[in-house]
Symmetry: C2
Subunit: 420 residues, 2 copies
């Protein structure tokens, strides 16, 4: 064992995973019996179930209902250690990940650091139109939404009061649709009778989408249904409207302007700066195009998975930035690294098994698309709920989210209406 | 109706309540059928169940489990309006409460604004030894406690690592005892196997109390039991030790020093600045001594209740700053105001019906003191749990807290281990 290369600790392959999202955790899980040392680096101490983050932003759930300590999840996996810290770069030559003043050596690197918001080059919009990626984002969004009603209640000027009671959501993908539906129901139901000087039922919620339809990745009939369902909740849907400005006073697009107190950015995402770290080229969204084995071309043993990877299917179409893609890629990368650690042949190239897509619109409507099987409405909404509860990480979270949802369903109340 | 005094709106008595804690909410509830207009002013949008705040600070519960929107609680009480804002003063002559730039006129004023921390004149200790009164305090405390373990895990210097794994709680009242027990169990149970470089079971937890016993308001045998129960959890209890300094490096007392990474202040409280607002005299803790009808002497129609009031019983002993006192005073003030609004005679002077006192030490021990009936141990712990669940404000919170507790009981896990 004495003549191992210097890069190996006690002769054991050192695998560093950056990010404990869906992709990173699956990689670690796939390495659970592997003869490797795994280090997971994340700037947060928790894994977040992002698909339900909009429910934290709209006061339906608490942060801890959809987030779990990474250490807890992996505590029984003895070949894993966790490092809380923010990656600032990668030294590809010395094969080290740079975390502030620390340098973490690796033999194999898996970059699963996800994506962040992108305001399409207009970072000055950020303070007025915040996005939704982290718990801090969601708690701040919740504060803004609830404070809009509080400020409207105290406002004497009717024009300003109307502005405060106007919410614009930019982006018609699943997050935008879910936020719009949830804000509309918060106003019309949960808050309906709680104020004395305003009527929250008169709240104006507008969803703005640059493209020709909502839920762009869904088939036409489901997109149309989502639009109708939102309109039934009182949401104004504006398609084909590209936003030209987000400011404290409201949103501008196509020459028009909506005076709004609260803007939610659900439009653009950009990959975390993996390409900068590795000094390789990226696409417009900052993603690195990976090989069929999810490695960065020219950098053997460096993998990129999830939202930071540009990975094309057989038809040459980029896979979407959704949880099932990240998870399957994480599992693939883990199994491939395990095979190499054991001196076995690489498994075949990565192939995505389409896991379908779901979205919900308010408390009774949903859309489900499994390719051949498609359905919508009440049944899709229930299906969405059951699937999401199933994917939560432990029994406690499942019970608690189920109780919150049941309670909200019966009473229209929201469980976490806190301004902090 | 045309010749009412100017101070009344449409001839209806205007009651302003400052603070929606236990006292303020009870006042409002007692006025629910009263012919008055009630305005509640609070700087937070939620009522907080403070007795369980330490469980948020130690990652057992989420903030929303023990806090509910004031508007939601009072939404059906049509004579109440709620104003979110911070009181900055009272104009006793013009009978107006000053909220920033706003002035809220009152005929009757109930000051139920509670207490805050007091570092006994050493405000420079505050950043190193924060207290626990609000949700923001609890979330910050949780962050500090969890980060201490994370930083210890990354620390190479063994002396500094030991310092990071040392927690000092200053103050041996119920909050101090509960925090000490809860941190000890967090370290020895919930976190026990989650780290790779440190052993959280070796965490040092010290509870420092200036007086001769823990839980000063409890009878001797229960105080002794609490001390034994804490020591069994591995907590070091130092009685008769007055703290002389709190700094970034640790806590000093009696010439000795404990190098500690985290200090929790559970010692002194001071009333909110009611005496300054009214320009009347106060005791050392900032409390205003009230009449047997809970009014401020010389200021008819101005009541002080709860932690901001100095209210003595028949033996001349000040009532403690606990929830049952605030609630009974709130109810008394409300009924008295109602009687006056209806032109009836004032009810007799306020008398406190002793509601007993409870405290818990970790996951199996508690103390209960009802004067004649006293018990401790396992049964007291269960009793404590049932009573606290019963006092939560709605069924949802009761179910959710019960599930969190049951889960923690069975798995030793904590439901809200988030660093945000």
């Amino acid at each position: 064992m004495g003549d191992e290369p210097e890069t190996k600790l006690n002769g054991v392959l050192r695998v560093v995973i950056v990010g404990a999202g869906f992709g990173g955790l699956e990689t670690a899980a796939a390495l659970s019996r592997s003869p490797v040392n795994v280090t997971i680096i994340d700037r947060k101490n928790h894994h977040l179930f992002q698909p339900l983050l909009y429910q934290v932003a709209t006061a339906a759930l608490s942060p801890a209902d959809i987030a779990w300590p990474i250490r807890r999840i992996l505590r029984r996996q003895e070949n894993v250690q966790i490092l809380l810290g923010e990656v600032t770069g990668v030294d590809s030559d010395r094969r080290e990940v740079i975390v502030g003043e620390k340098r973490i050596p690796f033999d194999t690197l898996v970059l699963a650091s996800g994506a962040t918001h992108s305001w399409f080059g207009h970072d000055e919009w950020a303070p007025h139109a915040p996005g939704l990626k982290t718990i801090a984002d969601a708690v701040e969004m919740r504060r803004r939404i609830l404070m809009a009603f509080e400020n409207a209640e105290m406002e004497d000027n009717p024009t300003e009061r109307d502005r405060l009671l106007t919410f614009v959501i930019v982006g018609g993908g699943p997050t935008g649709v879910e936020m719009a539906g949830s804000i509309a129901e918060l106003a019309r139901r949960a808050l309906a009778t709680d104020f004395r000087h305003i009527d929250p039922r008169r709240t104006r919620v507008t969803l703005v989408e640059a493209g020709p339809k909502l839920l762009p990745s869904f088939p036409e009939p489901l997109s149309d249904y989502a639009r109708l369902a939102l309109e039934k909740l009182g949401v104004e849907v504006r398609l084909g409207s590209a936003v030209t400005d987000c400011a404290a006073s409201g949103v501008s697009f196509d020459g028009a302007h909506i005076a709004a107190g609260t803007i939610v950015w659900a439009a653009g995402v950009a990959a975390s700066p993996v390409a900068t770290w590795l000094n390789v080229s990226a696409d417009r969204a900052g993603r690195i195009e990976v090989s069929p084995h999810l490695e960065v071309p020219g950098l053997a043993g460096v993998f990129v998975i999830g939202d930071a990877a540009l990975c094309k299917n057989d038809q040459g179409i980029a896979l979407p930035g959704v949880a099932p893609v990240a998870k399957q890629q994480g599992q693939f990368a883990g199994l491939l690294i395990d095979a190499r650690a054991r001196g076995r042949k690489d498994p075949g190239p990565f192939r995505y098994r389409d896991a379908g897509q779901l979205a919900t619109i308010g408390r009774r409507a949903g859309v489900v698309d499994f390719g051949r099987i498609r359905f919508k409405g009440w049944l899709a909404w229930w299906f969405w709920g059951i699937v999401h509860i199933f994917f939560l990480i432990n029994l406690r979270s499942r019970l608690i989210v189920a109780i919150h949802w049941l309670w909200s369903y019966l009473t229209f109340d929201r469980g976490a209406r806190l301004i902090t």
